[in-house]
Amino acid sequence: MNDQLQHIFQSVSLLIPEVIITISLLITILLGLTVKANKHVILKLLALITYGTSIFIIIQHLPGEPTVIFGGMMRIDAFSSYFKILFLVGGILGVWISGPQKDNSSPEYFLLFHAVILGGCLLASSMNFIMVVLSLELISLSSYLLAGFGFDKKSAEGSLKYFLFGTVATACMIYGLSLLYGFAGTLDFSSDLFVKNLIALSSPLLLIGGLLTLAGFLFKITAVPFHLWAPDVYESAPTPVVAFISVVPKLAGIAVLTRFTMAINLFGQSGYHWQVILAAIAMISILIGNLSAISQTNPKRMLAYSSVAQSGFLLIGIVTFSLDGIHFMLFYSAVFLVMNFLVFNALNQFEEARGQLDIPSFAGLGAGLLVPSLAMLVGFVSLTGLPPTAGFTAKLFIFGSLWGAWQQSGELILLSLFVIGLLNTVVSLFFYLKIPYYLFMKEKKEIDSIKIDAPGNLLSLILVIVLFYLFISPNGLMGWINKIIFVL
């Protein structure tokens, strides 16, 4: 009894960041009820302080020994800490670009932000199927609600679509997990028992169980064929929310997907080619994402498809099934966070200045809104993967590891993924350049009233510098990432 209490106390002490977020979440509710004036500013500050403190505490404990807490429910290690930092940075950026909410709904808005990040932090360290489902649902339910924060019909429609697709994906996942639980006899997918029992098994139901479980995760990361919700949700949700849910839930999905695929691959002894399956998913995500993005006229729909393609690139790191691949995927995740926020921040500034825009109505805005325009250009160049931005470095690394994986395994699908992935850069250039093309090359029809949004511009500047810095000197971040020893 005493030992158990001791263990729980110890476990909680390793979860201080999560505890802080939970407390902040409760304070947000209380403040929302009591404070009358400046509610938005106070809550925004609270959120920023919360996330900042949490990042600080996580960094203080790095690189800690991997520790299993709550009796095998979670594992706190460098891998999960890295993702937690990314979620919190994503939270800071998302809060930063969020303006005051309609109908005095700021408390609910920030509450949901906290909940998504809390879910992400828990998910990144989950080792147990129950924990996975709980934290994944915490993220999902909160993001369904966030997607409806436009408070109009369209937004409600998007939110409902997100919810319906999401529940089906969750249902599939839970069914898959129940199959796996039945076969393995344990919910802890990192345990030896899980691996031992599944290696002994030769039932095709293992494949079905694994695929159904993957469906839930692939839904979160908007990989094909579970990407159908993305364009509608992205189009209808408020831009800061889109920026946030295109990064944090996705990276959370990537984190759990990495752990799960390493487990289901059974150290390469699985009877099924999970590498080939994931490579195929990555390949069609890149292809369908890029090809669908070409014909879009709404910037957010285009970014939704771009996000589908980016998921494909992130998946490549997992496809390699190597430590280096995972390291490079972590690097890509950080770069993806920065470049995605850069683009969405600029888009948000445009929308604040000019209302909802389709791509042709960006014509000639480049001169009037120079900073957001340049920020967008850098963001898109980085998303395409061209130097001198970190997007290039990230792509170079991840494709380098893919080449290495192909050299080792000789699977032709990896070579195809390599070639198709790189050639898609040319396709992606076509739509990524669309907005900069309208911004700078189309003539201006009227003189714009220029509204300068200083915090937004400051954020753009910081993010642009980060993208250039990570290009010129990736050694710092990569050196840090290389210390992460991925243990299942």
Partner: protein, 532 residues
């Protein structure tokens, strides 16, 4: 003076940052600043020329570690900031500095958003020189890609009526080419180790290490003993093909040349000049620097293909030039034809052919710049480029006609002009090839001579149509003035240079020859090392 090359590369990039901070109202500042940068570069280049010694090796080198990281199971990765000069890059860098100066003078009349224009021109300047100096494949690629975006905007914003189509076509074609190159770069760095580090396996992007087949890791995909095939060819041969296609797009060679006429016709005059005189050179430069020395076995195996594409480009480009109605389009196709000679010279893999190809690249840089400038002079006055709309210009614009004649005759390869030397050396190489190394058959060389004939045809015909006969201009034009002083400043140095390098080839050959000899020797030595 250890960092001369870095000064040369980063002065324009630094100036671009400075220009970014100057308010856009001060319109004239930007062009003065850009010209100042070019003049500084000329000074730096003169100092470098003083330090340069005429031998085949790499000189004026600067090396700094750039990306270094442990890769666990595969050893470590190392990319360097490694810039240097040798007999191949020195003439190209010198050409770049000169042409960029002339491009700035030619940009003097740009009116539309000067700030953006000159910032992009400065970035382009740094990227071009950086690419020519880079001896690390990744560094080269970064500078190479870095050229695309400024070029895209320079054509797309300041270009002609169909600029949007032309700029995106340019960008997509070139990016496709660079992606093919990137595929090989990724494969190469995982296959090449740094021989100077014996403690652990260090994967390097260093081109000099890549060029030595002994540094290829045994068992890697690009190792000579690898028996894996993909379709009909080994991976080494595929890699050569990818590099060849990638650089052929840039060159451009038929059939991947179609972006060039559009880009040239729509680009503003100074940008056409930079495009033709410098950017096209990366095609030949890339083959000589990367594709041939790194994959000599592929180079020898596919020499017939390189030669054939060269001959097709020569003839097809010339025929298209013959049928062009637009003066700029004619010059653009003549570039395709002349770059075909470069391919033919490279394919012959003889000392004469390689040296000729390098000479041709240099002389085409000067001559094509002049051609686009004279086309620009006319366009500035009439806003029309259709050949059929002009007649008898010689009677009104005497000096202008003189410069046009120099440019045209130089371009068609008349002895006494720089173009002649390069072409004649290429023909020596191409005719010699069959008996010395047997790489390209003699009929290719014979067919290529028809290119010269066609070249004389389209230039002389154009002169006859536009400059002789009774004076008439079929477009409304107030006044047809002869050259002004700014145009003299641009054209006179180029005309003198064409004559100088046509009459006295030795100063340039002092740089080129040691490189070409070493190149051919190493090519065959490495090839026999790989396929004993």
């Amino acid at each position: 003076m250890q960092h001369l090359l870095s000064y040369l590369i980063f002065t324009p990039l630094f100036a671009a940052v400075v220009a970014l901070l100057i308010p856009a109202r001060q319109k004239k500042t930007f062009r003065v600043l850009t010209l100042l940068v070019s003049l500084i570069q000329i000074v730096i280049m003169t100092v470098i020329a003083g330090q340069y010694e005429h031998h085949a090796g790499v000189q004026i080198a600067e090396r700094l570690p750039w990306i270094t990281m442990e890769l666990g199971q595969w050893g470590a990765l190392q990319a360097e900031y490694f810039v240097a000069l040798d007999g191949l890059s020195f003439p190209m860098v010198a050409l770049s500095v000169g042409i960029m100066t002339i491009a700035v003078v030619s940009s003097w009349t740009i009116e539309k958003s000067q700030k953006g224009y000159f910032i992009l021109l400065l970035i382009l300047n740094g990227a071009i020189i950086g690419s020519f100096c880079a001896f690390d494949f990744l560094l080269f690629y970064v500078f190479f890609e870095f050229m695309l975006l400024p070029m895209y905007f320079l054509i797309g914003i300041w270009g002609g009526p169909r600029r949007e189509y032309a700029s995106i076509k340019f960008f997509l074609y070139t990016l496709l080419g660079s992606i093919l190159i990137l595929i090989v770069i990724i494969g190469l760095y995982l296959s090449v180790q740094d021989p100077t580090n014996s403690e652990e396996l260090v994967h390097t992007f260093n081109v000099l290490h890549m060029q030595n087949p002994e540094n290829i890791i045994p068992g890697s995909i690009f190792s000579a003993d690898s028996t894996d095939l993909l379709g009909p060819y080994s991976f080494r041969l595929w890699a050569f093909l990818l590099l060849f296609i990638g650089f052929a797009i840039k060159l451009p060679a038929v059939p991947v040349h179609t972006w060039l006429p559009d880009a040239h016709v729509e680009a503003p005059t100074p940008i056409s000049v930079v495009l033709a005189a410098l950017l096209l050179k990366f095609g030949g430069y890339g083959l000589l620097r990367f594709a041939y020395p790194i994959f000599p076995d592929g180079a020898i195996y596919f020499s017939w293909l390189v030669g054939f594409v060269g001959v097709v480009s020569i003839i097809y480009g010339a025929l298209n030039a013959l049928s062009s109605k637009d003066l700029k389009r004619l010059i653009a196709y003549s570039s395709v034809s002349h770059m075909g000679f470069v391919l033919l010279g490279i394919a012959s893999a003889t000392v004469e052919g390689i040296a000729g190809a390098m000479y041709q690249m240099f002389s085409h840089g000067i001559i094509s710049a002049m051609l686009f400038l004279v086309a620009g002079v006319l366009y500035d006055r009439t806003y029309d480029r259709l050949i059929a709309n002009y007649s008898g210009l010689a009677s009104k614009m005497k000096v202008y006609t003189g410069f046009v004649l120099i440019a045209f005759f130089a371009s068609l390869g008349l002895p006494g002009f720089a173009g002649f030397i390069g072409e004649v050396m290429i023909f020596f190489g191409a005719f010699l090839s069959q008996q010395t190394n047997g790489l390209i058959p003699i009929w290719m060389a014979i067919t290529a001579t028809f290119g010269l004939l066609l070249g004389a045809g389209y230039y002389l015909w154009t002169i006859q149509r536009m400059f002789y006969g009774p004076f008439s201009v079929k477009v409304p034009v107030a006044e047809l003035n002869d050259l002004d002083s700014r145009e003299y400043v641009m054209l006179l140095p180029l005309a003198l240079a064409t004559l100088f390098f046509g009459i006295l080839p030795q100063p340039l050959l002092n740089y080129i020859n040691p490189f070409a000899q070493e190149f051919v020797e190493t090519l065959f030595r490495s090839a026999s090392f790989i396929n004993p």
